[in-house]
């Protein structure tokens, strides 16, 4: 009965939202805007969601979520346009798509490749939505059992895993990035005793750093500097006739789709890991499972399908920890968190009590957004490709003004801009030295959660650390954190290498007569 109730509630919400003209206009408008944002090299889904957040603070929560999720879904999908047509991925999430998408376009199959990405993205988003609908209420109920001990480790685990998986050069560069984020989160009056920390007498810092200007600064400014400094130029787009759903090819690759969708959802659910990693892992898995791996990189349909299913399935996955634990699963989900805060929705275990229909509404919006993306993709692809002709020196300055007014408008404080710029410049330098930015942002978001819960937990235990190790979930998280840290240390690597060589020697010893 409960499941039937949930299903009927979901369909009712979908119809309620869909039969409102304003919602539909917002949905299609934001999805198309998202596709354009995703298609343009240098503009990302994170930046798109961040900039649109500012415009949504005057509208209802539902309308705001329709706009932002529409932008998110559209931008993740739109990245494939640049990958296929000009071999420059519009977003990092679409970088893997270029591997086989562009060779397909060179063979004169750009329309077919776009048809495949449109269908695969649609299926991926729908699978992500399914997992969101099924798992979010379960995790939310489980999370109600969590206490400060678990939440402290959960916040720390989020930063550690995000840093560990996004660090391109050295894993601990991701952790350093997360620690800098935690430091930024400490600035301002603490939430338990209201003592000013690291404010240096600047009264504007008393309230702490506002999340949205930090997010816009950290993602927007480095992007602007990088694109303009490195003179990113876009070549002539490959021509194509029509974009069709390509159901025949899709049905042949159903195994790839299922595998990639599951990978996408799984990676999305891990805190701070974005769509780009989901796409690459899906691509790698598809290549490994293929009977003809040598065809990958030369215009293989499975390559395009796997990346696009994976990165779009990641959206639903990323929203699961966001809604149930208050931990964003990807950088655009971090932006969504900022938007939710503006609309007085506090994500976390209490969400199913404070806003009982919210998870269903988000699921319904994701479902509508994937339909809107599919329709827009099929009918507007040819027009959207035209935006690739706009040179970056023309649109990047406009993006800067949007970043500035976006950061200012939320609190109408010029001080937010004074913060946005140095954070943006810091993020640029960090990025140029291969420090990932996502852990920094996750640190800023999860810092207050870690700080408050650590002290609350110690208050409950009267200063004893013992309960951190006696509660099963807390202990598991603690062990995972310790393992993640130790596994990157040189002595551990030396030890495992020594252990492996010993085992190999022993095996060789038993093999030889």
């Amino acid at each position: 009965m409960f499941i039937l109730e949930q299903i009927s509630d979901f369909y009712l919400t979908v119809f309620n939202l869909a039969f409102n003209l304003e919602n539909i206009l917002l949905l299609f408008g934001s999805v198309i805007l998202g596709i354009i944002f995703g298609a343009m090299p240098g503009l990302t889904a994170t930046l798109g969601v961040g900039l649109l957040t500012t415009l949504t603070y005057g509208i209802s929560t539902n309308a705001a979520m329709i706009t932002l999720l529409g932008m998110y879904v559209g931008a993740v999908y739109g990245g494939s346009y640049g990958s296929i047509c000009v071999n420059i991925p519009g977003t990092a999430a679409a970088a893997a798509t270029a591997m086989d998408g562009y060779p397909l376009a060179c063979k004169g199959e750009a329309g077919r490749a776009l048809g495949l990405t449109t269908t695969a993205s649609f299926i991926g988003t729908m699978v992500g939505m399914f997992f969101l609908a099924v798992f979010a209420p379960i995790i939310s109920t489980l999370a109600l059992q969590f206490t400060s001990f678990e939440f402290f480790f959960l916040a720390f685990f989020g930063i550690m895993i995000s840093g560990g998986l996004t660090g391109q050069d050295l894993v601990y560069k991701g952790w350093i990035s997360g620690l800098i984020g935690l430091f930024l989160a400490v600035i301002g009056r603490d939430h338990l005793q209201f003592f000013p920390r690291f404010t240096f007498g600047v009264s504007e810092l008393d309230g702490g750093l506002e999340v949205v200007p930090v997010l816009i600064g950290a993602f927007g400014i480095p992007q602007i500097i990088q694109v303009i400094r490195d003179q990113l130029s876009v070549g002539e787009a490959k021509k194509f006739q029509r974009v069709l759903p390509e159901l025949k090819i899709i049905s042949k690759h159903i195994g790839t789709i299922v595998r990639s969708a599951l990978i996408g959802v799984g990676i999305g659910a891990v805190p701070g890991i974005g769509e780009d990693i989901a796409a690459w892992v899906s691509y790698g898995a598809a290549k490994k499972a293929s009977k003809h791996p040598e065809n990958f990189g030369k215009g293989e349909y499975a390559g395009v399908i796997s990346c696009e299913t994976g990165n779009n399935a990641c959206i639903g996955g990323a929203i699961i920890p966001l809604l149930t634990l208050g931990i964003p699963g990807s950088p655009p989900a971090a932006m969504l968190l900022g938007a939710l805060m503006i609309h007085n929705v506090t994500p976390g275990p209490m969400i199913s009590i404070e806003h009982p229909h919210f998870i269903t509404e988000m699921t319904a919006i994701l479902c509508l957004a994937s339909f809107a993306m599919f329709i827009s993709g099929i009918f507007l692809a040819k027009q959207v490709v035209k935006v690739l002709r706009i040179p970056p020196p023309i649109f990047m300055p406009v993006v800067l003004t949007l970043c500035v007014i976006g950061s200012y408008a939320l609190g109408t404080k010029v001080f937010n801009l004074y913060l946005m710029v140095p954070i943006g410049i810091l993020a640029y330098f960090m990025q140029s030295m291969d420090y990932p930015i996502a852990p920094l942002v996750i640190g800023v978001i999860l810092g207050p959660m870690a700080d408050e819960n650590l002290r609350r937990a110690l208050m409950v235990s009267q200063g004893s650390f013992w309960p951190f190790f006696t509660r099963p979930v807390a202990l598991i998280l603690f062990l995972l954190i310790v393992w993640m840290f130790v596994s990157q240390m040189p002595f551990y690597k030396r030890f495992t290498a020594w252990l492996k060589s010993r085992i190999l020697k022993r095996e060789e010893g038993t093999m030889t007569p």
């Binding site: 400490v186 400094r229 020196p393 300055p397 406009v398 003004t401 140029s432």
Partner: protein, 248 residues
């Protein structure tokens, strides 16, 4: 980036991180009460607001040491000391491009937005940013950079000396007028630099359009539809108000 070059930067970063971690710990221990009374409440160490920053400071030092160790092993420290004696000049022009972007952003946020009409600030920022890089000519970029920097320094001196307030007091919107004149001077200077080239002339026209049109869309949208009070509403926004209320 080349691995040794990256490790050199890692070496510098690790030193900064260690120093920053030490600063965090010292600040926490000296400025944040660990056990004393605060706001009439007696503190204990485990609820102290200093507990968390102390932990972060410690972890930053640990990470700094780990990074430093790696940088030294991979030859980053050696490269750093080698480069101290002879520095190579950047010939790709990327440094000037970076400085150009930085100048535009810093001047827009710290100099113009807090003092000048928001529409005018945005229009100037867009014009300068687009023209700097759309012409795609290092020689022109250098000249435009110098011209814009000189203008920014002039307005900075005016505001530091408090002359801008005196001018605005004696004649309303006088700073807006001055900045608008600077905007016109900048456009004319651009024209003199590129007047012989047809393609460049087209680019200048587009730069001008792209500096005015987005400002005309963006600013009224925020002011009249989202009802956001803008940082400084000077002569141009006053003009917008007159136009808007004339049609209401």
């Amino acid at each position: 980036m080349d691995k040794t070059e990256l490790r050199k930067k890692d070496f510098i970063t690790s030193i900064i991180l260690i120093a920053f971690g030490i600063f965090m710990i010292l600040y926490t221990l000296t400025e944040i009460p660990m056990k004393d009374s605060w706001g009439g409440v007696m503190n204990v160490w485990f609820v102290s607001p200093g507990l968390f920053p102390l932990g972060i400071g410690f972890l930053i030092i640990v990470m700094g040491i780990v990074l430093c160790n790696r940088a030294i092993k991979d030859g980053g420290a050696k490269k750093f000391f080698q480069d101290l004696s002879h520095r190579e000049k950047d010939s790709s022009g990327k440094t000037l491009r970076f400085l150009g972007i930085l100048l535009v952003i810093v001047a827009y946020v710290y100099l113009y937005i807090p003092r000048i009409d928001y529409f005018l600030s945005t229009m100037l920022c867009l014009m300068v940013f687009i023209s700097f890089f759309y012409f795609d000519d290092p020689g022109i970029l250098k000249k435009l950079f110098t011209f814009y920097l000189a203008g920014c320094l002039f307005f900075l001196i005016l505001s530091l000396a408090g002359i801008d307030k005196q001018l605005n007091k004696s004649f309303s919107y006088s700073m807006d007028v001055l900045v608008f004149l600077f905007f016109l001077a900048y456009v004319i200077y651009c024209w003199t630099l590129i007047r012989r080239d047809k393609v460049m002339r087209k680019k200048l026209r587009l730069s001008l359009i792209m500096s005015v049109v987005p400002s005309l869309i963006l600013i009224p949208s925020f002011k009249y539809f989202l009802l956001v009070p803008l940082p400084v509403e000077g002569a141009f926004i006053e003009l917008m108000n007159i136009v808007r209320y004339a049609f209401r």
